[in-house]
């Protein structure tokens, strides 16, 4: 994939005039959104509920397509990707607010799930999942089912899962929304540490300004539009 360069920085995402309607046009989630996100950036998207931030994140993850406008990943339109699943598997890691671990699989098995789409042997999958769990401090909990893990531990497993195929972009949707403040702090630190260590692009959706302040850039949205875009 080729990408535009801005002052020597590679542009990962480029959005031009993005719109999205819902309920067959009765409502608009996005009303013309333009931005560029560069490699290695930590962008926090903030705004009140219903402002369109989660819709935007879904589009970045190829979970949804724009109604109009273009959204490119490294120069290629995400909506026209021939295999969006491959993009989701190899380029993107997603962290959900509600963790979304599969209850019938242990922690290490949950981490292995995305790896079925990578060319890894069974032993390689297991080895890599174990390392990822170790990196989030859960080496002792690898064989526990999600119901036996605390909220913070579950989100750490979800983070390990999002890193399964070494993506270049991490998308996090309110990753601390379901956690108490102590765990929220820990998880945020962990995500930021990973972003820094692995030089990953991090796009984090939150309505919590204290979290947004830790980002290198904050995009604030309201009623489907970007109202401010600040480098911190």
């Amino acid at each position: 994939m080729s990408a535009a360069q801005d002052d020597g920085k590679t542009c990962v995402f480029e959005a031009v005039g993005l719109t999205k309607e819902y309920d067959e046009g009765r409502g608009q989630a996005l009303r013309g959104v333009d931005f560029r996100i560069h490699e290695g950036e930590f962008v926090a998207i903030t705004g009140p509920s219903g402002c369109g931030k989660t819709t935007l994140l879904q589009m970045l993850g190829a979970l949804d397509v724009p109604g109009a406008g273009t959204l490119n990943y490294r120069g290629e339109s995400i909506a026209d990707l021939p295999a969006p699943a491959v993009y989701r598997a190899r380029e993107i890691g997603i962290i959900f607010q509600a963790f979304h671990l599969l209850p019938t699989f242990t922690a290490i098995e949950n981490v292995q799930l995305p790896m079925f789409e990578a060319d890894l042997s069974m032993s390689q999958r297991k080895e890599r999942a174990a390392k990822l769990l170790e990196s989030v401090g859960l080496e002792g909990r690898r064989d526990h089912f999600p119901t036996k893990l605390s909220g913070g531990e579950r989100q750490r497993v979800a983070i390990a899962r999002s890193l399964a195929n070494s993506p270049s972009v991490l998308l996090a949707d309110e990753p601390t929304g379901n956690l108490d403040s102590e765990n929220a702090h820990f998880i945020l630190d962990l995500i930021i540490r990973i972003h820094r260590e692995q030089k990953m692009t991090l796009v984090l959706v939150t309505h919590d300004m204290t979290i947004a302040q830790r980002a290198s850039r904050t995009i604030q949205m309201k009623d489907g539009r970007i109202v401010s875009d600040q480098q911190l």
Binding site: T54, L57, A83, A85, V86, H100, L102, L113, M122
Partner: protein, 371 residues
């Protein structure tokens, strides 16, 4: 973790429902195994009986009853004159209740006829002449009637001495009371009547020669029909009815199986909607989701098939020991039938999974973000 484990975990998510679905398919497949096994076994053992008697063509008048309708004994003379026939043997086969057993086959054979030749004596002797009030019992018949050499068997008004126990080489033979034709005709008031003529073609006759022989016999004997040995039981209305019933019931069982598995898999897809969306969101291809659902339903079919074969075989074995049936059944529980039954179950599983799999692949990954 392999993909197979992912599939198994899907099935174990609701163990009770999976178990009940398996029981449902198993019962359906058990019905297939038992019914088809029994009806095929009946036909095969009849054919084996014909072979054991050294018969190429059977002339009889199979009506709605299991025993054929009697006709005049002189019909044999008309057949014997035809070219291409090495030997004929007149027979009267009857099914009746004997002493305290419910249904027994009585096979009365022309004295000196070739149908006696293939009977292997296990103990005792053959009758000394056509008039000796004696009977030879097939080994199963002896067991059912609880008779040994020297005992007597009451047939209609006559007491007959058991002089020999034989191995006839086939179920029909082993379950029969074999006596001389003139003796039975006298006992049963059927003088001058027979209901089967066994025909042996001249040595070296091909299958086509035997078929041509049947046509020739049919042209001179309008009161009965000549059939290639082994085919003639298939000509019985009763047998055809049983056979149609067994296939009909099996088909019904298969349809019920399809609906059962489809219901389970649809429920699974509805229940696991969010899980499937999460798998799509973390990068699983739609084809992998389809494969997962199809494998789950195929496994349900496969294990249901194995369970069905086990239940079917056990059921038939239990049925064989029942006093009312003992000795009358020799089901064809061949490996082929078992493999076919499991394959049917597997196909049922896969077919039942197609719609749920298609439904699951239509889910949108963005739903994972909700809830």
């Amino acid at each position: 973790m392999t993909f197979f484990i992912v599939v198994i975990r899907g099935l174990l998510r609701r163990p009770v429902r999976t178990g009940l679905t398996l029981v449902g398919i198993s019962i359906g497949i058990a019905a297939v195994v038992a019914l088809v096994g029994i009806s095929r076994g009946f036909e095969q053992s009849w054919a084996a009986g014909m072979k054991a008697r050294g018969t190429d063509v059977v002339v009889s008048n199979m009506g709605s009853a299991l025993a054929p309708k009697p006709f005049a004994a002189n019909v044999r003379d008309r057949i014997a004159k035809l070219p291409g026939i090495a030997a004929t043997c007149s027979i009267f086969v009857d099914m009746t209740s004997v002493e305290d057993s419910s249904m027994m086959i009585i096979s009365a054979r022309e004295w000196g006829g070739f149908s006696w030749q293939n009977l292997k004596l296990i103990s005792g002797r053959m009758p000394t002449d056509a008039e000796e009030p004696a009977v030879v019992l097939g080994q199963t018949a002896a067991e059912v009637l609880k008779k040994k050499l020297g005992d007597t068997v009451q047939l209609e008004t006559k007491e007959l001495k058991v002089v020999g126990i034989i191995d006839g080489g086939a179920l029909v033979e082993n379950g029969s009371l074999i006596i001389s034709l003139p003796l039975f005709q006298e006992i049963s008031g059927n003088e001058g009547k027979i209901n089967i003529i066994d025909v042996r073609a001249t040595p070296g006759s091909s299958e086509d020669d035997v078929k041509r022989l049947c046509v020739a016999i049919n042209s001179v004997v309008p009161e009965a029909r000549a059939m290639v040995a082994g085919e003639h039981v298939g000509n019985s209305q009763a047998y055809r009815f049983i056979s149609a019933m067994s296939w009909g019931t099996s088909l019904l069982a298969v349809i019920v199986g399809v609906l059962g598995v489809m219901n389970t898999m649809l429920m699974t897809v509805f229940e696991r909607k969010q899980e499937i969306c999460i798998l799509l969101a973390i990068g699983w291809k739609r084809s992998r989701i389809i494969r997962m659902i199809l494998w789950e339903s195929a496994l349900l079919g496969f294990f249901g098939g194995i369970g069905g074969v086990l239940i079917g075989v056990a059921g038939v074995k239990i049925m064989e020991t029942l006093p009312a049936i003992h000795g009358l059944l020799e089901p064809d529980l061949s490996v082929g039938l078992m493999i076919n039954s499991v394959l049917i179950a597997l196909v049922v599983g896969v077919i039942s999974g197609i719609y749920p799999a298609w439904r699951s692949s239509r889910l949108t990954p963005s739903l994972a973000m909700q809830g």
